[in-house]
Symmetry: C2
């Protein structure tokens, strides 16, 4: 019994902005299962900003995507055949082989998720890597303490909207967000942010300074460039930056912007710390408990934007790059 | 009994490089001592790069020098009159009122130093703030661990030459320094640096990459600009930068250079942390013990450049800015 899978391959490495030509849909015959493997039919997959980096042929913390090979990313699917005693047909599993309709996986490369507790897509968002990124970045990387004023860029994105809400729940004095449209700014205020601004509306530095009259203590950086420079300028002594992403640079072919005021970090005793979530898996249990409680008490609002159909996954990724999503961007495959 | 003091005042705020016109020698009559005060005749004073920052009218961790007021800085002198039970005539004391022949000080603003253990100038250098800056920056700020490869810029300077030697004594795998002349590079190799280069000899990035084939784990930054960018480029995962100074920018009237590769800090999980030594005084006791032992065992070589006479202090400062010193730059007033 051979299964055909539809897969999205990397057709070419983008120089600057990716386009639909970056992707190619391919039908492949999957191999037979060997002992210990499962066949998974994916039902939902994640598209994330970090995937842009993997499209470049650059050595990084994750290897680059390979040309003419399927893209990868978080997905949840149903086990439809199993040669593993650990996984039964019907199990819903989280794994890293998104961008395809079906996948043959070692059982050990999958994690069973309980879809009676939360819908499958939650395990890609608030209860998954996205949420842990927000939580670990804020607490372990930036050393958040109650009473801190927190600024987060890309605040209407999947990670950013959780950062702001978690900061508020943990006792931030003030939470400020930046986003890319008036509608997103309005939404951030509904989520409980104390102040928010549209970075298209003028200088980030001026808007941030106006929103943070007493300065900021923590900056959660999803954007880089002008945002980082503006944050350094208003940081209080001992301030901390969690460097999570730099989406403003991902598709740029210009030399990247750099914070020309970085030397202020000396006198202000600032700490800038980059992180990748793979190094913070030890916080996953603690996080799942806290987020589970917040969700159960309806204290966190989870935003997501869902696109239907694997065929539309490339366009979903391009829309994410353009900032058209609010919250987590998902592709439903069922 | 009134004492006349010769003082060096800030005559004008430099725009770009300071000149002799930045300074003015002034004779002033000192006030009579009040209860609890001492009169100190200075014998040696320190000139340091950080003083350049205080010549600007910019709020920072220390207030700016005031126009037509005496400059300040570390000095050691002899108590020649005392109205304090805590200080006797003949005591040698460390204090912050350099740039002048005599000072009237509250006894509490002075610290008695034992010149039978070490010469007076050691308390401004290896046994003083300079040494503590090297030690605290390397250990507490950069989190140095044995086996790390360490790069220090301005390595022939007062702080830099101690950073490299302390790193070696604490078990660095490899110590690399940059400096501004062939003679300094040769001197660094004599001090036990494993590699050193002259930043005038070509691209800092290329020279550093050649000197650090296995990358670096710690960068002690005295220079900023191109050096910081080069260090980020070769840093290993989890690398740490102690941001101590940015002398390449102090006299620049151009917009400062910034590390255009700063976003590499994300994937490499780098930490950049600025510091000022005032926040690490709790390490002074531990440091004095270790450095005392190293000096007693002749395991550390202390470089200094001494200029004679208060009249020559402005020129000593300008020479420091031009990098003409090796090790600590001092002015002898005796």
């Amino acid at each position: 019994m051979s299964t055909t899978a539809r897969q999205i391959h990397l057709a070419s490495r983008p120089h600057g902005w990716p386009t639909l030509d970056t992707f190619r849909m391919v039908d492949v015959a999957l191999p037979e299962l060997t002992e210990g493997q499962v066949l998974v039919r994916n039902t939902v997959m994640s598209v994330d900003p970090y995937m842009r980096g993997r499209m470049n042929d650059v050595k990084s913390y994750t290897p680059p995507f390979q040309l003419d090979q399927p893209l990868e990313g978080g997905a949840v699917g149903e086990v439809i055949a199993s040669r593993s005693a650990e996984r039964a047909v019907g199990d819903m599993v989280l794994h890293g082989s998104g961008w395809r309709s079906h996948a043959v996986l070692d059982a050990a490369a999958t994690r069973v998720v309980d879809t009676t507790l939360a819908p499958a897509d939650a395990y890609l968002g608030a209860l998954g890597m996205t949420g842990l990124t927000a939580y670990a970045g804020l607490t372990a990387v930036a050393g958040f303490a109650p009473g801190d004023t927190v600024f987060v860029s890309g605040a209407a994105g999947a990670v950013g909207s959780l950062v702001g809400q978690i900061a508020r729940l943990l006792g931030a004095a003030r939470v400020i967000g930046s986003a890319g449209s008036a509608a997103k700014v309005a939404h951030l205020l509904e989520l409980g942010f104390d102040a928010a601004f549209d970075y298209h509306d003028g200088s980030v530095a001026e808007q941030l300074a106006a929103a943070a009259p007493d300065g900021i203590d923590v900056y959660f950086d999803n954007v880089g460039g002008e945002h980082l420079e503006a944050a350094i300028a208003v940081m209080n002594r001992g301030g901390r930056v969690a460097m999570c992403g730099a989406i403003s640079m991902y598709n740029s072919t210009e030399p990247p912007a750099a914070p020309r005021n970085l030397a202020q970090a000396i006198g202000k005793e600032l700490t800038l710390r980059g992180f990748i979530i793979g190094s913070y898996q030890h916080l996953a249990g603690e996080y799942a408990q806290r987020m589970g409680a917040w969700l159960a008490a309806d204290e966190i609002h989870v935003d997501q934007t869902t696109v239907e159909g694997l065929d539309n996954a490339p366009e979903a990724f391009l829309a994410l790059m353009r900032g058209e999503n609010t919250g987590k961007m998902l592709v439903s495959l069922s």
